[in-house]
Structures are given as C-alpha cells and as structure tokens.
Symmetry: C2
Subunit: 221 residues, 2 copies
C-alpha cells in the first residue's frame, strides 16, 4: 500500500500491481460472498488467482483488511450506480416509484453484494466502522430521495411524514429481504422469491406499497 500503482502497459505483461490487486479483489469477493468471512479461505482465494497467497498479504496485509477492501469496492459500485440515477425530471410519484424499481433491479443483479452486507452485519459492521473510505462514502440515492420527498410533501401529494432515511430503509428492506432471505423463505414456505416468473409481480408490489404509503389519506391529515 506504500508504493504508487503503476499504469498498465498494454502488450507488455509485467509487474502490474493494480491488475493483480483487482484480480484478487474479484476472487475474494466471490469467496467471501460464498462462504462468509470465517468460512472463506485465503488459500482458496490465492489458488483461483494468477498470483500467490504471499501477494495477498503483500498487498492487503491480511484476511481482515482484504475483506474490508472487498466491501469498499462493493459499496463503491453501488454508489456509482446511484450517481447514474435520473429520476428527478419525473413527478414525485413517478420518481419514487422509478427509484424503488431501480433499487429492486440493482439488488437482484448483485446477490454477492447482498451476501457481503449480511456477512458484515453478522460482524456488527466492524469493517465499515474501521474504514475511512466507507465512513465518508455517503449515498447519492439518499439525496435524491430527500429532494423528491420534499417536493412531494410540499405539494401535498405525499401525506406521510417519513423522512428520506425512513423511506430508503423501507425500499431497501423489501429489496434486500427478497434476495438475502430467499433460501430460508423458500425452504420454509415453498416459494422462490426471486423466481423470474414472479419478478414483475414483486417489482410492482414494491412500487405500489411505497406509493400507497406515501399518498394514503390519513385521519390526522
């Protein structure tokens, strides 16, 4: 971590720290997501790269730091996706629904990320707490929700007094649970929550749920 990363020289396959590190991170992501932090094997990660176990310790310092690096990159991908959000040209109802749908799609496309987050929660988010990078990563999606929500509440369209963090939790919980708990839910209730045949149904259900909540007529309104 003390040396400056060399730029890749095309055609000349030489010392390429950045490339090697990226490959280690790719494999480590899969292995940690597959088996959990304690279940993952450094030997197995090394065996599936073009490099050796010694390099993992050379680049990352240890298993713990490697897992932190995996988390940092995984959350980085999420943040990048959130920066592509383009829903603020829509009216508040359509904007929130679209945002919920994009969250739904993103969770479905990244089951490994979901597993990493579950694993990190089992470890009380101590790697996130120890990471400076993750501490200041913020959430573009949260800012988008905040603005749409304010607009919807100001216009009287939205009657719920939820704030952006609440709404983010509500949307995430449905999307996250569907992927994270699909195994136990499927085994106990005989329904595969990520069955492609039911995908549109759950995607619509999420949007309906969030919009119904935000726009419901309320006694105390």
């Amino acid at each position: 971590m003390t040396s400056v990363e060399e730029p890749a020289r095309p055609g000349v396959r030489v010392r390429d720290g950045a490339r090697t590190k990226a490959e280690i991170l790719d494999v480590a992501t899969q292995e940690f997501a597959r088996a959990g932090f304690d279940g993952a094997r450094v030997d197995e990660i090394a065996a599936r790269t073009r490099t050796t176990k010694r390099m993992i310790y050379y680049y990352f310092g240890g298993k713990e730091q490697l897992f932190t690096a995996v988390l940092e990159r995984a959350y980085g991908v999420v943040r990048e996706a959130e920066q592509q959000l383009d829903v603020e040209h829509l009216d508040p109802v359509a904007g929130i629904r679209r945002l919920a749908e994009l969250t739904f799609d993103h969770h479905e496309r990244h089951p490994d990320f979901i597993r990493l987050v579950s694993i990190e929660n089992i470890h009380d988010a101590e790697h996130i707490a120890a990471s400076e990078k993750l501490g200041r990563i913020g959430s573009p999606a949260l800012e988008v929700i905040r603005r749409i929500l304010a607009a919807g509440q100001e216009s009287g369209l939205f009657t719920a007094d939820a704030d952006a963090v609440d709404l983010h939790a509500m949307i995430s919980s449905f999307c996250f649970f569907r992927v994270a708990n699909r195994h136990t839910f499927g085994a106990l209730f005989g329904r595969d929550l990520v069955d492609p045949a039911r995908r549109e149904r759950y995607r619509t259900m999420l949007g309906d749920m969030v919009i119904a909540y935000l726009t419901a007529e309320r006694a105390g309104g």
Copy 2:
C-alpha cells in the same frame, strides 16, 4: 439421540440428558448467533456449559448437527409464539395491523434468531433443507394471514391482489431488515434503526404501509 430422554427428578441432580442438551443448545444459540457457523467454536460452547466438548459430540454428533438443532429450536419458539396469535376477532384492517405489530415486536425481542436466519441464508439454508422437523413445521401466522386476507378481499376492503405469502414477505422484510441490517445501516447512514426512541414510529410506519398497500384505490379496480 437413541436413548429416551429422562424426566427431570427435582432435587436429585443426576444424569439429566434433557437438561444438559438444553443447556448446550442455549449456549450454542448464543455462540452461533454471535460469530456465525464457521466463526463459532465448539470449544467455546463447551467451556460455557457445565458439561464438556465430548458431550456435545455425544448428544448431537457434530457441529453441523448442533447448528441444525439450534435452528430447529429457534424456529420452534417462533411457531409457538405464532400459535398464540389472537387477531381474528378483529376486523381485517385491525387484524392485519395487529399481526404486523406482533411480528415487529417478536423480531425486536429475538435478535439472536434474526442472526441465525441470516447465517443460515449465507449457507443457502442447507440445514433447514436437511432437517425433517423444519420441513414440516409450517407457519400458523401464514394461516392467520390467509384467512384475514380472504375476508378483507371478499368484503372489498382490500383491493390488492397479494396472497398470504406475499404479505408475509412484505411484513417480515421490514421487521427483519430493521434488526438484521442495523449495523451496516447505522454505520453508513448514521441512524440506529432499533433506537427505542424511534420504535413507535417504525412500528406505526409498518402498519400504515401494509394497510395503505392493501386498501389503496387502484386504477384497474
């Protein structure tokens, strides 16, 4: 597992398989919930009981079977709680709201159970799949939801075409996420989802959300 369990003889502290097994299960539940399946240590479990490691292997066969037994008992507790549900004397709206609130309360009171379920999902629910007991445990709550939902839909109160399993997933996702993901969510967004000061707020939010979804006016109605 081949011997018949002896009833406890009060005052006479002798061979008491049932009691010893229960104590092992208590400690194992805590240890597995704390550290995950691979992170948990059989030595540590043994050290915290009045018995020895040898007894764990004697009674349960191995770490894997011990974890399965822990899951079986944990789900058994949930099922028992569900059998105490008494909400069908209420009208459908009040009944569903009450059921959601009881689910909310139960998840909050059993964080170890939530962690065990997360851990089991990381292992693709293979212990549940291998357990005969868990395969036929069913879900009293699901039956209650089914009946209330049918009544609400028949009377026209509920406009959503969700079935009982869908609704169970919706309610569970919110309750589960709030507890299971509180560490990463708190670290990233600076909000403690299980802060007692916000408890009533989220409890009400869940009920509002589910009822709003079920009773919303729909274009295609």
